[in-house]
Symmetry: C2
Subunit: 396 residues, 2 copies
């Protein structure tokens, strides 16, 4: 009744479901406030005040809920294009921009447009594992390659994986789950390598840059532009994280104006956005984000959460890299067994995601887009777990 | 660069694109108000006042834009389930309901869940041709069968088309483009035939009922319940047409609580809604429609438009069936050549869609969800075209 493939997917995703079910059970048993849930990238922060202000203004206008061109309102695409031009240091006009139902909608639409049956899409470990489904949806296959130990891209590993079946490389910087921002030199090496390999294989290899965390960065780090580095690049993003509105499903994709076969690519993407059933990005949200280009929640609050967690986790003896962006810590599971660590933390009513959920066992992810009270409440549990595991506490 | 399949689709859909381009050109040339555009099902009517009222209320609440369970807010699913129970004359609880990004999102999610590679999905001509893409998206194939001359379903034709590859039958009542509502007896015959054939083929054949026009009906006709008639039924719909908000992408699907393998089916659909990149239906719109169950735009206004058009078109000598629902007329192309008729009307700056856009050449579709001024302005052109074609005018 359910297709065989979906049945298999349901079976194989059962460990994640089990985790969520256990979490829900803990909350029912001990009360929501006594469970420290760091499992989801669902920002607890409210959207910026300006969001609500613009929403109230736009909400009063009855004439804005009809279909518009599938690519989005022309004036919205224009405003977004202006903003992208500064963000990507490349002149982008509205023809390059397609409004989408979040980054999930953007990625699916792009992948459907470019994948021929059996094509491969390369991504670097650790990564957001929904990419696997997104590729499979359209007859492609995600091809995972190892990253470096500091979570940077391993350009040689990516190069070695490329064949004539490779349609694209997806990168995600700042990275979920590692918080890593790939440096400018890395993006440049990736770009020259892709240019070289595209020639060798006789096939344009696209660089798809999934950038929903671009504005959630610390210490004045700048996320390098993929458009500036590589002409066959496509940026996908959403306002979910930076405006704290993931439920509203609003984002965009932008094709580099220098991309080969630009017109076919854009028209193909618009067609796919329609025929996948998205039709167009939600109308009212398009109107709202048009007025909020460059706006985000107060990132300083995330920085405080990061620094608080970093200080304490280090004190307790956990090993990790300080994330340069996103609201995730990717922490080594002491002893290397991520599932065991997740279970130990669960005993402390702390919910985190094992590294294998990102194809990198031996780590666990803490999503710190939570209220400070959750962070504070969890500290004793993180400490006891560290003690149980005999971690060496930092006394300084 | 663009996949071969998408490239083929772009080529084959070029006649529709050409039509729209011609329309846009006409509007630029003669001014929007001098072109009578009946080509799109994009309601000109504003949403009901209550919609704006509820939107303004909900917009003030900052805490409502986060992710919720992929199936939708539990309380929204509850309210929708209550409403469906009365509409479908079947007790449906919230477990059966999944909030979706419109009917397009609902149909794609269901089809992805049930289609094995090479499966067929039967639909009756004339029909909304996006179904073809929706089936193909997930490795299936739309299997079109002829309807009866009064646009009712031909149960024998559907039965003859069923093989062990048939995963589902999609019906759309009230029908786009014909405006036909399939009578209760037809739905009952379809249900018994599907029960019989499911036994014969050893495979559950789902009945997917696409019902976005259910509330846009005239003369107190009631759209029969598929859930009451057939246990393996799934209803897909949206608020696009009845609330005039197609740009907002909000709808739902409901699985018959009596459906075989119900739990797997629902969980599979929730998984597919997530992995197709929809993630969840837009949050704010979920909150709004929860308060607007049973509400619709003033259907009486559509009835007036229908009656005005019916009177005039009949006078001019056009042949058609009075639509019982929807805001479409499906009119015989005099002489049988729909493309020729479309061209003749274009000369009068009237835009309509040829029947071949719904797999039934020889007809053309008029979408009358337009301002009265468009209908009135077009009358002279419809008349002149009738005269050119030598149609016999009704003098009464």
């Amino acid at each position: 009744m359910v297709s065989e493939k979906i049945r298999r997917m349901m079976d194989s995703s059962s460990f994640i479901r089990k985790m969520f079910e256990t979490g829900a059970k803990l909350k029912r048993e001990f009360g929501e406030e006594n469970v420290y849930d760091f499992s989801l990238g669902n920002p607890a922060m409210d959207p910026p005040e300006n969001f609500t202000k613009v929403l109230l203004e736009k909400a009063a206008d009855q004439h804005m809920h009809r279909y518009m061109p599938n690519a989005g309102y022309p004036d919205v695409r224009n405003k977004v294009a202006e903003y992208i031009s500064s963000e990507q240091q490349t002149i982008v006009n509205s023809d390059s921009v397609i409004m989408t139902s979040g980054a999930g909608g953007a990625l699916n639409t792009v992948l459907k447009t470019i994948i021929n049956p059996g094509d491969k899409i390369i991504a670097s470990i650790p990564c957001f594992m929904e990419y696997k489904f997104y590729c499979d949806n359209h007859g492609g296959e995600l091809d995972l390659v190892n990253g470096l130990s500091d979570f940077n891209l391993d350009i040689n590993a990516i190069e070695a994986a490329i064949t004539e079946k490779t349609a694209a490389v997806i990168i995600n910087s700042p990275n979920n789950p590692s918080g890593r921002i790939y440096p400018k030199e890395t993006i440049e090496s990736l770009a020259s390598m892709l240019t070289k390999k595209s020639k060798e294989t006789g096939r344009t290899i696209y660089l798809i840059s999934d950038e929903p965390y671009r504005k959630i960065v610390y210490d004045k780090v700048i996320v390098p532009s993929v458009m500036d580095a590589y002409k066959n690049s496509i940026v996908c993003t959403s306002y979910s994280k930076d405006l704290s509105i993931p439920g509203e499903r609003i984002g965009w994709l932008a094709v580099n104006p220098e991309a080969e076969d630009f017109n076919n690519l854009i028209n193909g993407i618009i067609l796919c956005n329609r025929i996948l059933g998205y039709v167009n990005a939600p109308a009212l949200m398009q109107r709202i984000i048009a007025e909020l280009q460059g706006v985000s929640v107060n990132i300083e609050l995330y920085r405080k959460k990061r620094d608080l967690l970093a200080k304490k986790l280090a004190e307790f003896g956990y090993k990790f890299r300080i994330p340069e962006g996103t609201f995730y810590f990717f922490v080594e599971a002491p002893g290397g067994d991520d599932m065991k660590l997740v279970d130990l933390l669960k005993d402390e009513k702390i919910l985190v995601v094992p590294g294998r959920g990102f194809s990198l066992p031996g780590f666990f992810r803490i999503a710190y887009c939570v209220d400070d009270s959750v962070i504070e409440g969890s500290m004793a549990g993180f400490k006891r777990t560290a003690e149980k595991l005999g971690l060496k506490q930092d006394k300084k």
